[in-house]
Symmetry: C2
Subunit: 332 residues, 2 copies
Amino acid sequence: MSIDGSERAVAHIFNSAVAASAISAAWEVGALDELKSQGALDASEFATAHGLDPSATTGLFRALAAVDIVERADNKVTPAVNFEEAYRTRSFFHWLTRGSGELFRRMPELLPEQNRTGDYYQRDSAAISFACREISSFCYDPWFDQAVEGLDFTPRVIADLGCGSGERLSQLLRRHPEARGLGIDIARPSLEVAASAAHDAGLADRLSFVLADVRDMTERPGFAEVELLTCFMMGHDFWPRERCVDILRRLRSIFPATRRFLLGDATRTVGTADRDLPTFTLGFEVAHDLMGTFIPRVTDWESVFAEGGWRLRKKYAIDIAVGEVIFELEQL
Amino acid sequence: MSIDGSERAVAHIFNSAVAASAISAAWEVGALDELKSQGALDASEFATAHGLDPSATTGLFRALAAVDIVERADNKVTPAVNFEEAYRTRSFFHWLTRGSGELFRRMPELLPEQNRTGDYYQRDSAAISFACREISSFCYDPWFDQAVEGLDFTPRVIADLGCGSGERLSQLLRRHPEARGLGIDIARPSLEVAASAAHDAGLADRLSFVLADVRDMTERPGFAEVELLTCFMMGHDFWPRERCVDILRRLRSIFPATRRFLLGDATRTVGTADRDLPTFTLGFEVAHDLMGTFIPRVTDWESVFAEGGWRLRKKYAIDIAVGEVIFELEQL
């Protein structure tokens, strides 16, 4: 690559970083959806209609145009060659720039060992719930639905560990109109979003929430009746190994009536060259490196189930971005 | 571009956003300098030598490798094709991800008009001073030196408006061993950095600092003796036009002995297509759109000097990244 080539390449890295924030913003203010459904928009009219600052709105579209997500001709904005793919993966960008933005901003401070004690990093848990709702819908839902479809019983009580915005539970309760749901999460802001969404969906009387750390919680009223246990996008927090085995055992004991446990999560990729990493993997893995969280491989998981008191019935290998997998477990 | 092509393109946008943070971090922890001077490093030894977490350090180099800034072979890290250019422009990345990281993280909240009142955004002024010191050294210093070299008098008292870390004043005092300096800045953290640097440089007795907003400050002890006035990378904060004229007039009156005023700043680019924007421009301009700060063009500046009581003696057009220019002014 010539010197000019690397000047363009580095400018593109810089502009991409600005555009990553712009993708999240364009999603939140509704610009991505309007472009998707209408095929075009007028930046000035869009700003007026949504009560946005006109200059800042133009800046937003400029950032998207710099990396070929949209094209701009004066105020007219249309989808460009990368639009569809950016639309599909917008939740990953949101996870990176909104939910984990503070983590990456403070990267230099999070590297030294001496700074890595106590609550040494911050993320925006409400933003992460928002993004994970969409991430879940295309990374897990089709396979999750298949797993639920295949159950040989009708669950009467369902608990979701790390329930976030509560979307998964709401779906399950709509499918099983007789069932009750229990959402458990460590983040109060997420539970507030979840409770409000449950209310809006008319599910408030069948759905309750518990603020607790799934990793070290003890028995609670209602736990003993749970027949279906689900846990998505948080299983990596159970690790390292010894601790994971302990947690699996404890879950078996505090949810003794569990007939099936659906455990879905990202797993550490193996064998992909740095420059071939798809959208999300690098951000997800570096974020967890910064937070000091081990991300297990599929084989790591497979090595703990029996010791933890569970039998692996089935494995759904999804592998959309970060080695997603759903393990279908039952009590040993 | 094929669908696969846009999948790769969007993954590259995502990975670039992670890498942008990694460039800033690699600069701060000394990895860029070690790669530059040694031509290679061992990631594991580097982590040990600098007291860094080994996994997080590997994550850092992975992020740089994903966009061809370094290459990784196990622990061995070497500069790749984009290294030199990323090294040259690292201060721009730092400005974006460290100094302005919080601004971009909150982009969606900064768009609605109703949120844009009071102190509606935050940036890290100490981080911005750190980056601007290096930005200044290659965007302005060669031309600034030329302007100072060409002065037809030896300034006895020099004031720097928006002095940040105080580097410019230190340079001037080293060049003029009889001169005294006055640094004025609105950000206390920057002045703390500046005072400590002045002390380390043995300039504490010749250099004093004033915490004030340059845009509406009044006479202070010492102002009347200032003969050389400098102001870099903050002139855009004087605008819009009416206000800028007022400020220029006030500066003329509270610094009545000024023989020369060197005013250097970025100006708004005109006529560059969104996708051809060089490193920095897009981030700088969108940031100011978000903050509601007008960035004047060169012609805007040229239209206010006479009204503000100053004569333009000379113009240094630099244009490295964001239409940098230095105006050399004298009292009308």
